[in-house]
């Protein structure tokens, strides 16, 4: 890829930008794009076009044969199946816990199969269904629907620690960074803040992190003893700072060093 292609709503994706896969896998169209059928004026040419519906940078992945738009990072989270989210319990009814996933949206429902929770508790959960039709509510779960056992990956209540708000774009990056093995210098998606923090904080006992795609990150340093609060806040500040100022890897390292020094860690 040379210069990134920025599209505005209504712009068509140029044909030569699409990945050319030899396999028969169909092209996957990600968020921010939609496939439109052209009214058949010229039957000879392909009568499908990809049009952007959001403004953003066009990204293509030749390996996975997909194309999507990297849009504004502060946009609202829209629940999608199998997303990991951090939800807060709002109230409970007979069958469900009603949880808040994003402000100003309907509550998500959490099945009572889950452990006992009280109001205000945080839960790390997976989106089970987003529902369609009238009055549809999002359903989330922290147990595997088939087995009833707790899912791997730390699903369940989040005790202790602290939650920070980050942009949804940052949350996606963090999730990607934690799921794939990062190469040391560049990191995944240019994100080195986590590995840097991990290295620096190893001596005091490390930290636990849960990232919700809904723009929440939960940090816990309960192993850090007396430094617990300081370390938690330092991590939160580093993540939010990286997010807010869109720092590049070098600046992320600087930020980590500076913050930890200020916190006397």
């Amino acid at each position: 890829m040379s210069t990134p292609l920025i599209l505005l709503p209504g712009d068509e994706v140029p044909k030569d930008q699409l990945p050319h896969s030899k396999s028969n896998n169909p092209l996957k169209v990600g968020p921010g794009l939609r496939l439109l059928s052209q009214p058949s004026a010229k039957p000879t040419s392909s009568n499908h076009v990809l049009t952007a519906t959001q403004a953003g940078i066009l990204t293509t992945d030749a390996k996975r044969n997909n194309v999507s738009i990297l849009s504004f990072s502060n946009r609202r989270y829209i629940p999608a199946m199998n997303d990991l989210v951090i939800a807060q319990v709002h109230h409970s009814s007979v069958d469900f816990f009603h949880c808040i996933v994003t402000p100003h949206t309907a509550h998500a429902l959490l099945g009572q199969l889950s452990p006992q929770l009280k109001q205000g508790d945080l839960v790390y959960a997976r989106v089970l269904s987003v529902g369609v039709g009238a009055g549809a509510e999002v359903e989330i779960t922290c147990v595997h629907p088939a087995t009833g056992k707790a899912e791997p990956g730390g699903m369940g209540p989040l005790n202790g620690g602290m939650m920070f708000d980050i942009s949804t774009g940052m949350a996606t990056r963090l999730l990607r960074a934690s799921s794939s093995s990062a190469d040391e210098n560049e990191g995944v998606d240019g994100l080195v803040v986590l590995s840097e923090l991990g290295k620096k904080l190893e001596s005091i006992g490390g930290f636990e992190l849960a990232v919700g795609r809904n723009g929440k990150v939960w940090v816990d340093c309960s192993n850090a003893g007396e430094n617990e609060v300081k370390a938690t806040i330092a991590i939160g500040q580093c993540l939010q700072g990286t997010d807010e100022h869109n720092l590049n890897p070098t600046d992320q390292k600087k930020l980590v060093t500076r913050t930890l020094k200020a916190m006397k860690l």
Partner: protein, 248 residues
């Protein structure tokens, strides 16, 4: 002429926001968009298959009145056409657009709000883009005044606008549709046609079909409004994806 200025995502709590300032008319508008949000069940949210668009206009120096209700109606009608209200996640939900008039001459009772429309529409549109609300196209708006001598003036100042025989606020989509026309004053159709042609040039650049797009990267004096919108968004995305673009 000093061109307008705009910036995106100025507000942290809103899903999307933008500010827009037009030095020629003096108006400045701060817009915030939240969406898709859950709306309380209401009678006027009649269509279950698409999102409801709500617009609120807050004047800078007074409580919202009858005039704001009127201009909210206009904005809602125009913006509804450029939002894909049936995309995933939008039906039965709401897109709430709040526009605060933060600069410019105060509007008077019975004012037509025509002079404010371009600033309001641009702030709303940029805020929608910043909130990543799905849109089929972008829009560009301009204000033209016709003086007594028949001269067509772009972005007239409030004094000139008051003295003009007719005022026209015209919106074009990025695909060339006439999205909105609000004309007031005394004029005949031929005058309007001249105004429309000039507005098309201002909004979409020179009338060479199919050559819009990245043509106006220079940011020169005769840059058209479409180009201005594109540049503003591109600038912001470059800053947002600083980390990514540097590593490439």
């Amino acid at each position: 002429m000093v061109g307008p200025t705009a910036s995106l995502s100025n507000l942290h709590r809103a899903d999307g926001s933008a500010s827009y300032k037009c030095p020629a008319t003096g108006f400045a508008v701060l817009g915030a968009v939240n969406g898709p949000v859950e709306l309380p069940a209401r009678r006027d949210a009649l269509k279950p298959e698409e999102a409801t668009v709500e617009v609120f206009v807050k004047p800078g120096n007074a409580v919202p009145g009858v005039g704001e209700k009127y201009v909210e109606g206009i904005l809602r009608d125009v913006l509804s056409t450029v939002i894909l209200r049936r995309e995933k996640g939008l039906p039965r939900r709401g897109v709430v657009i709040t526009l605060a008039i933060v600069g410019g001459e105060a509007t008077e009772r019975g004012d037509s709000y025509l002079t404010l429309l371009p600033a309001l529409l641009h702030a709303a549109q940029l805020a929608l883009i910043s909130a990543a609300i799905p849109l089929p196209m972008t829009l560009a708006t301009t204000l033209l005044g016709v003086t007594r001598s028949g001269e067509i003036i772009r972005d007239p100042s409030p004094a000139v606008a008051k003295a003009a025989t007719s005022l026209h606020a015209i919106s074009f989509s990025s695909k060339g549709h006439l999205l909105m026309n609000e004309s007031l004053g005394r004029f005949d159709f031929d005058t309007w046609e001249l105004v429309r042609q000039q507005a098309a040039t201002i909004c979409r650049g020179a009338a060479t079909p199919g050559s819009d797009g990245d043509a106006a990267m220079g940011g020169t004096d005769n840059a058209h409004v479409d180009g201005f919108v594109r540049e503003t968004v591109e600038d912001h995305l470059h800053r947002d994806y600083n980390w990514k673009l540097e590593s490439i």
